[in-house]
Amino acid sequence: MILMKDVYKTYDNGVTALNGINVEIGQGEFVYIVGPSGAGKSSFIKLLYRELKPTRGTLYINNKDVSQIKEKDVPLLRRDMGVIFQDFRLLPKLSIYENVAFALEVIEETPRNIRKRVMEVLDLVGLKNKARFFPSELSGGEQQRVSIARAIVNRPKIVIADEPTGNLDPETSWDIMRVFEEINNSGTTILMATHSKEIVNTIKKRVIAIEDGMIVRDEHRGDYGYES
């Protein structure tokens, strides 16, 4: 599914973000990426959706060598995965419905299938009745659920979330986590970078801890391991 071999990432300004990462993540796993700020979590995540290229090493996703992928094929890679951010990244001028539909318009899905599938995922995240609203009219938790809906609307094998609960209050965060678990139960791999000790320690999953650009801990049903 995801395989990293000796992955290094050094930025142009000389900062080394990743310092030899070796990891394998199988289909259907739910993985937390934890670690202090600046340890390389974000770089790790960005490599996966090809915002960054590794300086050295190989990275396979769905048996494709992402480090060799051509610039024009990057969009194709991203259609096989859903990406979720702390700041939601919704298109402000589009309604909730249109935001989710956009991911399907991009792959030139038929209008009929788009309508059906969008309502399906909005139902899944519990926002069916807000389809006509605009992002600015929704709460943070609701917006994050929209971005989750958008991420899963074309049935990706992997969902990558970069601190999805970072901007949300604890109660909303639990709602979001329930959605993630549901998605995971249907067989989708989930990688989630997080700072939330409560979540990691309560919903026990595989935990990968990154410090100074290296994996220092990788355990199933692990703990957060840091004093938040």
Partner: protein, 297 residues
Amino acid sequence: MKARTIKRHFREGVKNILRNGWMTVASVGAVTVTLLLVGAFLGLILNLNHMAEKIEEDVVVKVLIDLAADEDKVLELGQEIEKLPGVSNVVFSSKEEELTSLIESMGEGGEVWSLYEQENPLNHAYIIKADDPHETQAIAVAVEKLDGVDSVTYGQEVAQNLFKFTDYARTIGIILIAGLVLTAIFLISNTIKLTIMARSREIGIMKLVGATNGFIRGPFFIEGFLLGVLGSIIPIVAVLGGYKFIESSISGMSSIGFVEILPFNPFAWQLSLIILLIGAGIGMWGSLMSVRKFLKV
């Protein structure tokens, strides 16, 4: 790319145009001014070309016959001229006819010349037309050597001067048009750049969701195209209206009746089509130039 995707790009492109307000007006204005001048220059240059060709076709060699030549000699000369290679026809013009046409061509002032009707000082003449206008000079040289010829004149210089003038006009026109076209492209690409900068975050999000560069470029391409087409409306109306007006006022003036411009139909329509194509081209080029940079991120 599927039809509904193109429809979507159109919808988004139109939205951008409406959203950009005054910048849209500015770039449409730039295209309008450019195309107005392009239209005027093209119309002028093509007509000058046409006129020069027409005049060249009409170039004749005029042979003034020696005053001392008697009637036999004149006839003999006529036959000799007809035998020359490249001569298409020869017309005899007596000195009386010459005087009449001279008086006519002088208009009001010609009256003075009618005094000479008693004692006509003019020569008899032959008017020679060549098969190919470019052979005129060769014929003139050959005729000059014949017996009984006083002098030879031909109007080729007029045509050549006109051609020279047309050449200058064309060069200046092309330089001006090129400068204006570049300005218009620059303005359009700036307008679109404004849209893109305001939406660079959105473009980033679109790329994360898996939109290809082509998909993102689509609406901007349409926007540029529409800006160009909008900018060509006024110039096309001006060309059609203006040309109609010029054509009718020229045909109404007898004093310049020899000026023959290209007919309204199809010339004005062809010119309009050219203007439309240049407008659309400017728009699309401008949009591609500005988008290219932003998609590299």
